[in-house]
Amino acid sequence: MVTLELTFLLLVVGLAVGILLALGQVYGGKGLVLLSSTYEQIFRSIPALVLLFLFFFGSSFVGLNISAFLSAVLALGFRSSAYQSQIFRGAIQSISQGQMIAARSLGMSKFQAIRHIILPQALRLSLPPWSNEYSSVVKDTSLAYAVGVIELVREGRYIIVRTFEPMIIYITIAVIYFILTYAGNRSLGYLEEKLKIPGFETKSRKE
């Protein structure tokens, strides 16, 4: 199903680019901070639909021949990465400075410290807000309709044209989105439970 494929790719692009952006913003030099902040600001400030059109029409304008599907993956994936970067940045910054200092004083390089000490903690803290981003991304895939990707809503349209039963079809589509979002959030909740570590679960609970 195209919607699932789209969701998966958007999340992967968003996750990979988002983590890099967050690391750039927290640990990067001035240039990298400026670059990642500008990127993040741009992609968070333009409506998803406009981004989608910009990528779709823009790619052929600059002579690139990419499919509607790919332009949707890039436009919405980059957009998600901007949002995800803020989730990860917040999580990384919430980890006490002492963790990095202790790691470095053991002789770890900065990269090792980030990989073995900072990220495992930050990603755990990111799970709850990330499941929120997941919910948005699932539903954002419907925007790909606008550039002609045959995702869930467009498939529905095709059926409506043949059956003239808009209400039934739209209700079915709504239910499918609901199930996708619900199942995803439940799995992430399960993952959160699974990765729970003493000291981390209490952090989020208010006394």
């Binding site: 006490s96 963790q99 200092i101 004083s105 053991l106 002789g107 090792q112 073995h116 000490i117 903690q121």
Partner: protein, 256 residues
């Protein structure tokens, strides 16, 4: 305790300024192999900064530091390599909160020293046993008391096989009844011949364990010498005042 096998740490004329505040203004001292040095001084006089300069967590503005003849302050020195031979213990423990006690001790061995897992586990358990916590290997930091956390952090540093141990106010964040267990580990360590630099106001520990006390104020060494001399016959009025004040606060004899 053998103290004449040469010099492990040599600190020469260290200066450090933060903004307009001159934190360290020319500190020099040497620590011989197997020696324990305790650094005391009012808060904000650069004691912690000095320790951090020793493993280059802070880079001094001027001055040089050698560990066993390797110049730590030289920009070409592979600092990650040097830090493996300098254990550091922090005031607030800084145990890795997502790792069990065993993993805290083991991670440096596996990731930095590239030891195979089984060997690293054995080594880590040996050090946990040394601080009396082998039964807590599976516990996470949040499940340990402050004293236990600090002992794990000492084990974590020791596991790397350091030539020098730095302690930055290791008992200041602890409840009074937990201080003794940490000091005991430190005393055993000093008696086993470890070279140590300790920032602490635990005067009982200083008197009974260390070879020399260094009194720092306003970024300079006011006076240094064996504890007997500093306590009984200090050369400076200021040393006498300060020692009197902290002895009153922290007590004279060692906490058990």
């Amino acid at each position: 305790m053998s103290v004449n096998q040469g010099i492990t740490l040599k600190v020469e004329n260290i200066h450090k300024t933060y903004g307009r505040e001159k934190v360290l203004q020319g500190i020099s001292f040497e620590v011989k192999k197997g020696e324990t040095k305790v650094i005391i001084g009012p808060s904000g006089t650069g004691k912690s900064t000095l320790l951090r300069c020793v493993n280059r967590l802070t880079i001094p503005d001027a001055g040089r530091i050698w560990l066993d003849g390797t110049e730590i302050t030289h920009p070409r020195t592979d600092i990650n390599k040097v830090r493996q031979s300098i254990g550091m213990v922090f005031q607030d423990f800084n145990l890795f909160s997502h790792l069990s006690a065993l993993d805290n001790v083991r991670i440096g061995l596996i990731k930095v020293k590239k030891m195979v897992k089984g060997e690293a586990t054995e080594e880590a358990m040996r050090h946990l046993a040394r601080v009396g916590l082998e039964d807590k290997a599976a516990a996470y930091p949040a499940e340990l008391s402050g004293g236990q956390q600090q002992r794990v952090s000492i084990a974590r540093a020791l596991a790397m096989g350091p030539k020098l141990m730095l302690f930055d106010e290791p008992t200041s964040a602890l409840d009074p009844e937990l201080i003794g267990e940490v000091l005991k580990v430190m005393r055993d360590l000093a008696e086993s011949g470890m070279t140590m630099v300790v920032v602490s106001h635990e005067m009982g520990f200083a008197r009974s364990v260390c070879n020399e006390i260094v009194f720092i104020e306003n970024g300079v060494i006011v006076e240094q010498g064996p504890p007997e001399v500093l306590f009984e016959d200090p050369q400076h009025q200021r040393t006498r005042q300060f020692l009197f004040k902290i002895t009153e606060l922290y007590g004279k004899s060692e906490r058990k």
